[in-house]
């Protein structure tokens, strides 16, 4: 199969993720969309690795996974504590970080 198709898929997934981040209010969903975007990037990296015939892309994909895992831990913790204090998981409710 032509590896370019994987790139199309990655672009599609990234777009879905980005749209989700922008239009959804629920923090959990936004979070999942971010994960989707990360994974879209991973897919692209792996594809490039395959296309160029070296391992750089795969190594970066592993990095991304580690970062994503760490991010999940921190992010979920923030969401949980936010939900505890405000009884809502809407990102628009947490708009205190402004001047």
């Amino acid at each position: 199969m032509n590896p370019v198709n994987y790139l199309y898929l990655a672009a599609l997934l990234f777009t879905i993720g980005a749209t989700g981040v922008l239009i959804r209010r629920n923090a959990i969903v936004v979070f999942m969309c971010i994960e989707l975007m990360l994974n879209a990037c991973n897919l692209a990296f792996v594809t490039f690795s395959r296309m160029h015939g070296n391992l750089d892309g795969q190594i970066i994909a592993f990095f991304t996974m580690v970062v994503a895992a760490a991010e999940v831990v921190v992010g979920l913790a923030i969401i949980v504590s936010l939900f505890r204090s405000r009884h809502s998981a809407s990102v628009d409710d947490a708009s205190l970080m402004k001047l």
Binding site: A18, V21, L22, I23, R25, V30, V91, D92, A94, S95, L96, M97, K98, L99
Partner: protein
Amino acid sequence: MENLIALLVAAPLLGAAVLLCGGRRLDAVGQWIGTVLAGASFVIGVVLFADMLGKDAEHRILIQHLWTWIPVESFQADVTFRLDQLSMTFVLLITGVGSLIHLYSVGYMEHDERRRRFFGYLNLFLAAMLLLVLADNYLLLYVGWEGVGLASYLLIGFWQHKPSAATAAKKAFLVNRVGDMGLSIAIMLMFTTFGTFAFGPVFSHVGETGEGKLTAIGLMLLLAACGKSAQVPLQSWLGDAMEGPTPVSALIHAATMVTAGVYLIVRSGAIFNAAPDAQLAVTVVGAVTLLFGAIVGCAKDDIKKALAGSTMSQIGYMVLAAGLGPIGYVFAIMHLVTHGFFKAGLFLGAGSVMHGMNDEVDMRKYGGLRKYMPVTFITFGLGYLAIIGFPGLSGFFSKDKIIEAAFAKGGTEGWILGGAALLGAAITAFYMTRVMLMTFFGEERWRNQPTRSPEAASAEPAAEHHGEHAEPHPHESPKVMTIPMIVLAVGSVFGGAFFSIGDRFLHWLEPITGHSEGNSPLSAATVTGGTMVCLLIGVGIAYAMYGRRPVPSVAPRGSLLTRAARRDLLQDDFNHVVLVRGGEHLTRSLVYVDHTLVDGVVNGTAASVGGLSGRMRKLQNGFARSYAVSMFGGAAILVAATLLMRAV
């Protein structure tokens, strides 16, 4: 011998330092320290004088180089003293009259608690004045020049709790500063022209530069002289300066400091001789001032201010003579010396009268005092005769010579200047007779009236031991005050004759100032006769107005001229409206400009930056998703830009 010159200055300077830094423990003896050191300076002066008399005329100049003062490349200012016949004359006048007045002040200031400081200031004045006349270059002269200005400032404002005294002091200093500006510009001009401002090199190279430069230097020196010597148009401070204690008026504002301008012009004779236009300006200033001062002197009821007008007028004579060039230099200085005697004597007499009259200064409240203060009356009377030029007394010799010299100038100028001098002599006779009659003759107008309002009476602390509010009890002053008056009166009587017989003074000064006879269209006898006629007219009119009729104790309204003369011929009003008011408006508007315009631009910039950032921060709305949009937008633009760049 020349090593003694520095001591002349050092003695009073030491006195000033000791008295001003010494603190209260010197309060009891301060006046004697000051007097003794002034006397010491006089003794040194006499020693130097005796030494000088023993030498030939050519070897009389003594130079003492002390140290290099300001050396910057070609600009070399030294602290060097020069004692020649001209400065010797001044040294003797300054220290002599100065010592007498110190002595007088011991009595006059007896009850002033700040007496120590008074003597400190007097000593400071002597030191500065001696520095002025002993300096061997113009910059050092400038130090003395401003030094006497400072001493004058401190002494005019000595009773500084009186706002009028403080204001008068400030005014004197400021007007003098305008003159000082002239002196500093003159020094700068000399430096650019000759590369130096020491007397010797400048005078010997005068011929090598153009007349324009010399005229400019001369006019600037004249400006300086106008400030210090209270000549029109910078005369306005002298009348107010009478706020100072009377010994100060006698020493500084009659006998010595105010004549510094004449010294400057005579000293710079070489420059003026080569700049006829500047000389003409000098004579004009002198002639105008001698009439101006005389007219003002006629209208004043305050005895000291009348005498101040007279001082102005007499210095006008000296400046006139100095402006005549070699014809007049010697006589300018001669009149200066005799004037030093009789005017100091007159002022001390006025002080003695005030001392006996609860510090009343209004002559309309005097009258008939001759019985009560005989010594004051006689000494004052002799001074009076001397100043009006009564034959045989000193004023007769010196003033007559000036009038003669003015005619000797020749041409129309000579006639105008001589006429002005003659007219001045008549007015002098008038106002001095007026002072004399109002003070010592006529009814006793001080009877049955309290002399001064309470706050005015406390103004001169000497009054404190007299009964205030009460009728004054005129009495003779103590010996310590009358002795100086007697000495000065002797000088006023015999000084002129002593100088003139055998032309002693002329021969003494001629090597320094030079002398030429001029060609007078009138014979000496004619001039003397004319002067006598003027004198008689002046005395006669005064007698008719003040001797035969009673003097009203409240001033009548008077003619327009009288009223103008009372206000110093409106010159003060002009200054007030144009300079003071104008200056106030200028500074006020500048403060406004500085605040709104200069500072406003800066503050405006700050405010607009602040406003802009206020608007920008609205973008920071706290919604995570809106930040995400801008992030994506930014990323998209970057990608697009990259692609675009690659495409191009």
